[in-house]
Symmetry: C2
Subunit: 430 residues, 2 copies
Amino acid sequence: MSKKVINAALLGLGTVGTGVYKVLRQQRDEMEQKIGAVVEIKKILVRNLKKAAAKIDDPSVLTNNWKEIVEDDSIDLVIEVMGGIEPARTWILEAFQAGKHVVTANKDLVASYGSELLDSAAEYRRDFLFEASVAGGIPIIRPLKQCLAGNHISEVMGIVNGTTNFILTKMTQEGMEFAEALALATKLGYAEADPTADIQGLDAGRKMAIMASIAFNSRVTFQDVSTEGITQISSKDIRYAKELGCVIKLLGVARNTDTGIEVRVQPMLIPDTHPLATVNDSFNAVFVHGDAVDDAMFYGRGAGELPTASAIVGDVFDIVRNILADATGRIGCTCYKQLPIKDPDDMESRFFLRLHVDDRPGVLASIASVLGNNNVSIAQMIQKQKDGDLAEIVVVTSGVREGDFNDAMLIIEGMNVVHKVSSVIRVYGE
Amino acid sequence: MSKKVINAALLGLGTVGTGVYKVLRQQRDEMEQKIGAVVEIKKILVRNLKKAAAKIDDPSVLTNNWKEIVEDDSIDLVIEVMGGIEPARTWILEAFQAGKHVVTANKDLVASYGSELLDSAAEYRRDFLFEASVAGGIPIIRPLKQCLAGNHISEVMGIVNGTTNFILTKMTQEGMEFAEALALATKLGYAEADPTADIQGLDAGRKMAIMASIAFNSRVTFQDVSTEGITQISSKDIRYAKELGCVIKLLGVARNTDTGIEVRVQPMLIPDTHPLATVNDSFNAVFVHGDAVDDAMFYGRGAGELPTASAIVGDVFDIVRNILADATGRIGCTCYKQLPIKDPDDMESRFFLRLHVDDRPGVLASIASVLGNNNVSIAQMIQKQKDGDLAEIVVVTSGVREGDFNDAMLIIEGMNVVHKVSSVIRVYGE
């Protein structure tokens, strides 16, 4: 009996590309029994042929010419692990046109152009899968699209960036300041040379856009996500959070409310009894709340060579099964609604607020009155130790409209008795 | 455009059946956009027509005659939520023969007859899905078969029985004894009138057999699982475990080792820093270790009307998508290996051992020597407080062959100085 072979091309041979190459090799002996065919990497597109040759068994598969791949009719599927918007976007569109299926790990691309790419895939009845673009090795897209399809999902939230979670863990467990923890993350390879996308919450924002789109069946793009990074968090904030029974995590929170979808990535205080509070180091975890399943959580490695490759190869195997069943394009875009995106001013949040103020009678009352006049109700107000001549006060609000809170803060920042607004951090929950 | 309808029949209208009915109704308005067709419950098989009529909108769909369902060619799929081996087994086989797809939540059946049923489904190219049979609403079977298909999975372990987890949580957090906690579980509806299958670990054993089969691609049946319940666990054991930095959980542990598959359900001490240690009350969680993904965890409600229905409706929607893509039977049985099952005596375990012995010199030494002579090495030996005239000692062993440990225990039980072997509990980990 002749062996059924599915030919694939790999675009990129960096960390993730190398991982995919390795995992496919690890599966070589059982693929045929497991999925009915053998996946062979026929071409690998790289920039530097010489450098790439050192990484693989058979350098003859290397090319630096996209045409050699897209024009090769024996190649059934393309695995895009280059990253970046272009040329990835154009090449994926060309791949669909040429009748090829595509697997990608490219969150930047899916978060901004997912709709265009899924439409194109549907037009040519090809598969376009991107499990690896969210939370690395953790299965989350297929569970949302299939296992939990019987739910109206009202919330998806979690820790979806390993770099910032590593930094916050070090700040919490070892009392480091942000700069020191970032330096350690860089040294250990958890942070990239330019860490902006991670520490500013952009990377997490892209993942939240993708998950919100799938969970709520309505397109959410990266532009719709409110993002705030962790660069302003101090070890003092973390200590005060601890006194309140909380830890500080960079949380992605997507909610489907009656007045629209809200998606945000912000550092937040979360009770230390919440399962996410113990998700530490570079681990990721995603919480899902649905009307049938109630709470479910998915936990694992959000990045890394082999965990990311695990998700990619899962997608590749699914496409092979679709090809063999003649069922490609079986599950396409599931964004059949057009729900409004809520104005960030209309989102409701609780806030942790730390201020340095004049240490004299009446100051607390005047701040409380500004908050009250702007519909910001106070859940807790604590006078902390003196800081030189100044008093340090901490305010925790109830759930308030962000626009109202911002109005109040404009006034508070301008008050003579207020020397410094030292921290404004959201608090997760109602 | 005419609406595409897929007709389903529900076998059983107990807790889970009612849940499926509700969830399908909750999804009615969006099903067509989501999956391309509307699922309608055309028949519901019940024993008591009158009692069932009170539970649903349209009692005309009720029947107590299986023939009316199996002989109705307009019914595409059967949802079996009656439980028990017969007549469920025979009817599912007849459903395949009649060209119908089947979704079940029946772990007893899948754990013992999964192979026969999957073979029959394959013969007629029908789908047979059973996500709800393991860990209720938590997606685990589809993640194992698809998302993590690029892995060699070496271990699947977790808390897969909510009743016992509730009981152990109460014993741990509130110092209750087993009988008291069981009574509370019964009162709150977490335990059935006859709790045997739960508290003896049989229910968890069935789920572990199903998960091990899928994770290791080799058939494991319920008969292959070593099970032990939690009826012998005392609050004293839990207190001593706490002193050792551990909690006691009923764990299902399946391992694929070089010398065979081992699957067991046993109460075990697990370090309180392990993510499973904080899975409390009736929640379930499953840990998976794969060579690519590393550690992943799936957490949620392991039982209950709507969470279980969530898993069933996810399966139903998947079958609808297969029907529309003409790809039914797309993923069938994945047990393509025939790995040996390890003899329980050859499994390796660590043990926590509590003994009441004569309070005089030389006793510890004589027990230590019996253990040592049988290749049982001691990691920790602690003399606890006196209990009347007797001394209480606690021994924690290193990893030892269970057969060797049992030999040692036979001798220890026969020693004159040993008055009672009060507890023998395994310790998770190497």
